[in-house]
């Protein structure tokens, strides 16, 4: 024996199938809501996620960079843009001896060229294994040894033309491993020690590209990463550093400070997205409510027939609610499908236009987000049908039979 709920479902489905234009219009409203929610969530979460991962991976409280290069540093860390600024190592000793600093390490950044001399334009990060607390723990975690002279590690998104070597300025360097994906700009970088950097800088290709040979790699620093002592105020220490080295060609920034531009972009995007969602919700609920109310009035006598045949008011209401659920579910589902396809097809222009380094495409994240979108779509559709449901269930049966307006 078929259960009543399956018959209610069948009646609702038939009603929707036999009114295809109305059904498609209603589904379209939910589709728009679902698409907006899904896409805006992916974009905002991707930005927030990358920012969070970058700051977590960095593990530094303060970053010291050449004066007026904080924007380049932030873009390099967040968006993976190439940078190659430096300052003199003598400032490292000055800063590292200040109070409140627990540990500090230096990094140097070099960029290869998008020319025949190099496999690709790539960001090179030169770290100091003796003091490093950013790359070394990562290597240890993956069970990888420190790179020696002429060796390097490549990020997860780098695809070298040959599996074990990569060319920079006309010379091949040995790839000893590829790091696991972090979904940060580090995925597009190569990592090496100062010995390898020096080898690159001493190469003929480097000289041909940049003219006069550069000074010793060991004397140059692009950034200084600082961890403050437990309980110390990073902002106050950064201020103290800047005060202590007044007139120096470098500046200290807290990690949040250096990412302030990105943080403000994320906040703006979150704000726009929230406003858009509220407007969409109001629009979709109003539209669905109107369509449900109009069509329920057209169907009064249909409900009257069912009532005269012994179908109870809760079951009549159940038919309307089931229609709302089906519309919400299908609209939401198609919205998610189209959003996923659009985000895959147009990921590059979206990333470039909105300055988002990575779109979050983790399956678990997308599944949870899809579930949320479908839940919201069904909830909105159900909410919109509640008024009609209430009207149907409280109207007197003779009113339904006579086809009175609900």
């Amino acid at each position: 024996m078929k259960s009543t709920s399956s018959i209610v479902c069948r009646m609702a489905t038939k009603n929707l199938q036999r009114r295809p234009v109305r059904t498609l219009c209603m589904m379209f409203f939910v589709f728009m809501l679902s698409t907006s929610l899904f896409c805006s969530s992916v974009l905002v979460d991707s930005m927030q996620g990358t920012l969070q991962k970058t700051t977590d991976r960095l593990g530094a409280d303060i970053i010291v960079v050449p004066e007026e290069y904080e924007r380049e540093m932030a873009d390099s860390l967040f968006l993976g843009e190439l940078c190659s600024f430096t300052f003199d190592r003598e400032w490292v000793d000055v800063v590292s001896n200040l109070d409140g600093i627990q540990e500090c390490t230096t990094q140097m950044y070099m960029a290869s060229l998008a020319a025949d001399c190099c496999s690709a334009a790539t960001q090179m990060i030169i770290f100091d294994p003796e003091t490093d607390f950013i790359v070394t723990p990562w290597l240890e975690q993956d069970g990888l040894a420190l790179p020696q002279k002429g060796e390097l590690y490549i990020g997860a998104l780098i695809n070298p033309p040959e599996p074990d070597s990569i060319k920079f300025f006309g010379e091949n360097y040995h790839i000893i491993g590829q790091l696991e994906r972090t979904n940060t700009s580090y995925d597009t970088c190569v990592f090496m020690t100062v010995e390898t950097a020096q080898e690159i800088m001493d190469s003929e290709g480097w000289a041909a590209a940049f003219g006069e040979p550069t000074s010793a790699a060991a004397d140059l620093v692009s950034s200084m990463m600082i961890r403050v002592e437990d309980g110390a105020d990073a902002k106050a220490i950064a201020r103290e550093i800047n005060y202590s080295i007044e007139g120096a060609p470098i500046s200290a920034y807290t990690t949040n400070g250096i990412f302030s531009g990105v943080i403000s972009s994320v906040e703006s995007m979150t704000g726009y997205s929230s406003v858009l969602m509220v407007l969409m919700l109001v629009l979709v609920i109003t539209a669905l409510l109107s369509v449900f109310t109009i069509t329920i009035n057209e169907r009064t006598s249909e409900f009257g027939v069912l009532a005269s045949l012994g179908v109870s008011s809760p079951k009549l209401a159940g038919i309307v609610l089931t229609e709302g659920t089906i519309i919400g579910f299908l609209g939401g589902f198609f919205g998610i499908c189209i959003s996923v396809v659009a985000l895959i097809l147009f990921s590059t222009p979206i990333q470039v236009k909105l300055s988002i380094p990575q779109l979050n495409t983790e399956i678990s994240y997308l599944l949870v987000l899809s579930a949320k979108c479908i839940f919201l779509s069904v909830a909105v559709s159900l909410l919109s049908s509640l008024y009609s449901t209430w009207k149907v269930s409280r109207t007197k049966l003779d009113g339904l039979i006579k086809g009175e307006e609900l």
């Binding site: 024996m1 078929k2 009543t4 018959i7 209610v8 069948r10 009646m11 038939k14 009603n15 199938q17 036999r18 009114r19 006598s301 249909e302 009257g304 027939v305 069912l306 009532a307 005269s308 045949l309 012994g310 179908v311 109870s312 008011s313 079951k315 007197k396 049966l397 003779d398 039979i401």
Partner: protein
């Protein structure tokens, strides 16, 4: 006795004035009896039908159906009564437009949870044959003629084997042939023990074996029991 009403009254307000749609009606009918109720439009026939099928609540009076006092039943019990014992054929086109002929006959009753869907389906096929609707089983009401639609509505009313069928103007706007098919079926069911109560303006419904009542301004009066056409 299958149905009995005692001093049944229902008052409505129209343009600020009260009027008795059904006024102190005392009426009874036996099991297997076919009663034809005639009267001008607006005389209260439909309201009377709504009252006895539990759709409308009377202002005063009593309705006893199959030994059960309808006026004391809860709305849910009245719903169950309509789903199982009293079938109400509404005036005009009462088919569900989005359902095929077969679905129209079966689905509402399946939804009422009172009847067994499998039994219902086999009974529906019997009725479809009885009314000559075999070729229309999977057609939608929009593809049917007025007579075919009315036959489907009547098949639906009988599909779950009710004790009584109440039909509000079942032959209005129908040609002679369809009217005959429907009245013949009603009389056949009446002879098999079903109680049939119909309202009509169509005097061809006044056939031998039928009890005739007249309703005017909410009051009902026994006219006669028709023994033969000549007598009528």
């Amino acid at each position: 006795m299958i149905l009995q009403t005692k001093d049944l009254t229902k008052t409505y307000q129209r343009q600020g004035q009260q009027f008795d749609a059904v006024s102190h009606v005392t009426f009874s009918m036996e099991k297997g009896e076919m009663v034809v109720l005639t009267g001008p439009s607006g005389c209260g026939k439909s309201t009377f039908f709504h009252l006895i099928s539990g759709i409308t609540v009377p202002d005063s009076g009593e309705i006893i159906f199959d030994g059960e006092k309808i006026t004391s039943l809860t709305p849910q019990q009245k719903t169950t009564l309509r789903a199982s014992k009293i079938s109400y054929i509404l005036q005009g086109d009462s088919l569900l437009p989005n359902f095929t002929v077969l679905e129209n006959i079966c689905l509402p009753h399946q939804l009422s949870n009172v009847t067994n869907p499998e039994e219902l389906s086999s009974k529906a096929m019997e009725l479809i044959q009885e009314f000559g609707l075999e070729k229309l089983t999977n057609d939608y009401p929009t593809n049917l003629s007025g007579g075919e639609r009315r036959r489907v509505a009547i098949a639906r009313a009988f599909v779950h084997n009710p004790l009584m069928v109440v039909a509000d103007e079942p032959t209005s706007d129908l040609d002679e042939e369809n009217t005959k098919i429907i009245l013949d079926y009603f009389q056949k069911q009446s002879s098999l023990g079903k109680s049939i109560l119909i309202s009509t303006h169509d005097l061809s419904c006044l056939r031998p074996g039928v009890t005739h009542y007249i309703m005017r301004k909410g009051s009902m009066k026994f006219e006669n029991h028709i023994e033969s056409l000549a007598k009528n």
